[in-house]
Amino acid sequence: MKIDRRLLINFDWVFLGVVLLIGVIGILNIYSASHNLYVRGEPLYTKQTYWLLAGLMMMIVTFSVDYHTIVRHAYLIYALSIALLFLVSLYGDITHGSQRWLVLWGFSFQPSELMKLVLIIILARYFSDNAQKGYHLGTILILLAIVGVPFYMVARQPDLGTAMFLVLLFVSIVVFVGVGKRLFIWAVSGGMVLAPLCWFVLKDYQKERILTFLNPERDPLGTGYHIIQSIIAIGSGSLWGKGFLKGTQTQLKFLPEQQTDFAFSVFAEEWGFMGVVVLLFIFLALILWSLKITRNSRDLPGALLAFGVTMFVFWGIFINIGMVLGLFPVVGIPLPFFSYGGSSMVVLMMGAGLLMNVSMRRFILQP
């Protein structure tokens, strides 16, 4: 295969640089959160470095292959992902009462993370194919099926956080593509009617989390403990932070899940408001750059892919940080490129690859 010179010229070094910067800050942060934590085998920060490198390789794959080829195989990819989710429900590892992990050749892997990216790809394909068709009962049912099947499978793991995240991605893309006013009103009002009904479907621990979110002090040693300790950690960072490796909440392990979902709290405690503002500006730069890629994309599948991945990253940032700040209930959404976690890192790097794919092919017309 001959490499088009234009691809190299248009290669998005800025984007790659920002992603790697966040990844490295994340690894340093994980070092702080886990250096005195006893783990069997490799320390977590080393593992995360490997995951970042593995993610880079996957990224090369996802930007090398023309995104049109990827979109063309969307249905196959979707089917394979659904199959993986199905395998999880059969053979998945159960940790903390939920079945989310698939262990393959010694690597554990979360197919539900991959599903987030696959959902973007298949929606890019579907809307590209049916852009002119508009909405009627048939298309609505197909769309509901596309999101409904993975939603159901992830929700019953149970991992309601990730399942809701799929819905959020879906809604973001649908709204972006464009929805008639009437349908929009119907969907919103339908959602408002259905949402309270969901209460009865929720598991007890999920209800508990929502109630605790509304009032963390109602169970300070149980489910509210996480969020209280997180807020204490963040707030105690004050303006300048306690210093790298000096966060007491982190080092004395008052902060739960500190290398994964609450990684941001560790950062906020040790680096303070100044550090947080810098980090948030880096994240903001990443999102704005992604939106620029979306805007400059050459065609509809490219725009949809770029937008989908942008939303994937944006919602991850907003929900995760909002959660550790006590703005949202505690859900297991990692902070993109930052939290510890192989599946999330690799999938996000693949997503980043897709963005770069779209970015560097913006001037190339599909033959």
Binding site: G235, L252, L291, L300
Partner: protein, 615 residues
Amino acid sequence: MFGNRDRLDNYDPKKFRKKIRVVTWLVLCAFFVLIARMWYLQIVRGDTLRQRSENNRIRIQEIKPLRGLIVDTHGDILVDNQPSFDISIIPEIAKDVVGIEDRLRKLCDWKEGGLFFEQSLLTVGKPFVPVRVARNIGRDKLAVVETNSLDLPGVIVDVVPVREYIYGKMMAHILGYVGEISAFELEGSAPATYRPDDIVGKYGIEKYLDGPLKGKSGGEQVEVDVAGRRLNVLGRIDPTSGYRIVLNIDSDLQKVCWDAFREKAGTVIVMDPRTGAIMAMVSRPSFDPNLFNRGISAEDWKELTTNPLCPLQDRAISGQYPPGSTYKMIVAVAALEEGLITEETEISCDGTYQMGNRTFRCWKKRGHGTVDLHRAIVESCDVYFYHLGEMLGVDKLAEYARRLGFGSRTGISLPGEKAGLVPTKEWKLRRFKEPWQKGETTSLSIGQGFALVTPLQLLRAYCALANGGTLYRPRLVKRIETEDGQTIGEFPPESEGSIPVSRENIDIVKHALWGAVNEPHGTGWALKRKEKDVCGKTGTAQVISLPEDDEDQKDEVPYRFKDHALFVCFAPYAAPTVAVAVVVEHGGHGGSAAAPIARRVIDGYFNLQQKRHVR
């Protein structure tokens, strides 16, 4: 290729550009919200939350002070602190807590209940905080635990100081005992003086002087992690031990008293008539205050509280007895002072005394014949005093009794002292809604009837006669000093004024008291010694009055109806240095039951004096 081929041409970026602009604004808003929230938490609430994070990691751990020692007048230790051993289990290290507990139980041969384990503590979520499973284990069990420590992971031994009452029962009522503070005591105390698990004095000196004894807690600031594991000691303030209490008690003399008193129930008090210092004070039956160390067992407590002889009662200060003939001294000095009689006044005793339609008898059936005051006291003639009582009247008598210290607490530094009772006409009317009967004065003049005294009051009054007229407050505590001997407070003799009796009249009475011991027919004859002349007065306090004719059957009277035997004395006659009061509950005659005890105590006292002099 896929799908509709001409869709590429249909792609209209303009349509999306507008949407992207909206999305960009929404993203900016979202980031603004995050930063605003961050500002609120880190800048606005930063200090508060920093404080909370400090509270999370820093614990203040109290270091309990050592309780002060109590020593006797010569510096011999009466109450010491001894290490006691508690066993705790650290759940996180023990892992199999139930298994470890079983092993402990087997190794130490503990019965069920010897160990207690609060299972619920396991779930609190501080797995590095030790959970106490047994208190105050013996040294044999300690040895077993120590030698098997490798098989008992997570089992730790805490050394906790406990009180050791070296003389056990002998000084129980003086020293008292300690225990964990009760909710009631905690509520009643001044704020910040006590904490819920403090050990406080519950009785005796331990209670009365708990403040000086308890010392001041120190503290340690430690850094802990989320599991409660101690990581660093950040600061430490050492505790200050409690003050040492020096008592006037002489432990050797106390032992003499303890050994001298062999009867079931009663008390012996030894006081220095020159200063009011209490040199010994025994109350029987007694209890072992060491039982209370680290919590008394339910059985022991039940036995102490249900025992009909009430071992917990300090009879010296809270036993209230009719004074019997020992009260005659008050009647005598009152009559002398009021000028109703003189030393020479003679009254004829034929064994009976008529008051209205009641006949009062003298203890000597045949009567004493004609007696003067001296003989009346020496032989304890009841009829003589019936007459004096009639002359004085109850209220005059009460006035003198009060000024000799009866009817009110002596103010000894012990909790639970009783005031006794000095009856008056007004009191009777108030108490019974009935007027005073003349016959009641007659009873009162020989110390029967309503009058109640505590042995300590009686001794104090006699001391006032012995020292020529000064009423001293009985003093148990000599000095309070710091651990290294620096005096904090001293308690010099405390005069509570002079008794309203002239020197001559005191001498008359004193001489009569000498006669009661040293002259033939004296009621205290049992006490007569050659070397030191003792002055004393017997008393026999009726518990119920028996028909006169049953005199011979008195021995068959059930214990609880037998008379109380009293004896008060001081020596030597010329310049008394020691005074002793003995009460034998239901002991019978003062002369035969109480006086021999007093004799042994007086002998013991002078022997000790001599020994110390030789040394």
